[in-house]
Symmetry: C2
Subunit: 196 residues, 2 copies
């Protein structure tokens, strides 16, 4: 195996979802579609490395700083939705129901991985929330142990503020069948039952 090809395969294998075998397959596929895929992908990666930056206000990834969401006057500046990762922001944007702004923590508190409040820039979030226009903070961290710990920590730090602190509802996923749901979700859905 030649050295530049070897190098390419080694780097491709570092992508999430690709292992050594699928990296080899991807490299061969790229070389077969040299003009249609390999060259454009190399250029797109170079362009992304050069142009995409982290929004200094919310932590989103965009070509502009502040990002398109932070600088959009039609978005409600009074509601801030706190998410762990940019992928979570994208998921909420795909749902196209939230019209406020975001704050990307960049992870969740984790004693095991040694991630503390200072690693997530929580003091930056608090100073952002302290601005007078903010009236509500939605804690939309993942429903995992680490995500919920992070939510509780932030909620506690916000106890003295005048903002409303809310969290996402837990319950039966839309389209989900009860038979396939875990006990925790079913219990949460039952506990949070509502009048029909």
């Amino acid at each position: 195996m030649s050295s530049p090809l070897d190098h390419l395969i080694q780097l491709l294998a570092k992508l999430p979802g690709l292992g050594p075998r699928s990296a080899r397959r991807a490299a061969l596929h790229l070389l077969k579609k040299r003009e249609a895929l390999l060259v454009p992908l190399a250029q797109a990666m170079g362009a992304a490395a050069d142009t995409i930056t982290r929004c200094s206000a919310c932590g989103n990834l965009d070509v502009a700083d502040p990002c398109a969401i932070c600088s959009d006057p039609r978005r409600d500046a009074s509601v801030i939705c706190v998410v762990e990762d940019v992928a979570d922001l994208w998921a909420l944007e795909r749902a196209a129901i939230f019209r406020g702004r975001y704050h990307v923590l960049g992870g969740a508190l984790s004693a095991l991985d040694g991630v503390g409040p200072e690693d997530l820039g929580i003091s930056k979030l608090l100073s952002r929330i302290a601005q007078p226009e903010v009236s509500e903070v939605i804690l939309a961290t993942n429903a995992t142990v680490d995500g919920q710990t992070t939510s509780h920590y932030i909620a506690e730090r916000l106890a003295d503020c005048s903002v409303t602190v809310t969290g996402l509802a837990h319950g039966v996923p839309v389209g989900g069948e009860l038979d396939y749901l875990d006990d925790g979700t079913l219990g949460a859905a039952l506990k949070a039952r509502r009048p029909v």
Copy 2:
């Protein structure tokens, strides 16, 4: 989602093994590891597109033409191993047992996909085999219907030549348990039984 990021995700989703969701994950991972992964990968792809070429003799991918295997005087030029794809050549090289040369067809005959003998450059293979130093051709196409059809076709075209034509043995994979084997493999292994 910003446009260069969108473009990057669309291209990543075209890699085998990645879909839209894993392409988003890969793009975020790349942007998080900008200096360690994104920039080197963009460069490696550019270098691969510029330097890697197909060997005009055997169809292998390498930085040199003829490739390292074809130009290696220690490799036995009298045996040619015919494989469908460069990935198969790599697999045989990893096994490190074959010391002859290769011929990469670039696919298998397939009536369904409209792949004929001219698409695989089989006449080029035949003229290569016609050279006096070649004494054996190993047909190492996949053990699929298309692969075996291709092998039979090449074997028929070689019927008049003086070269020995062989194929890979079928049987129980090393480390395989009989209970998990399909009937076809078990039958082939039983039919080709050997004195111990």
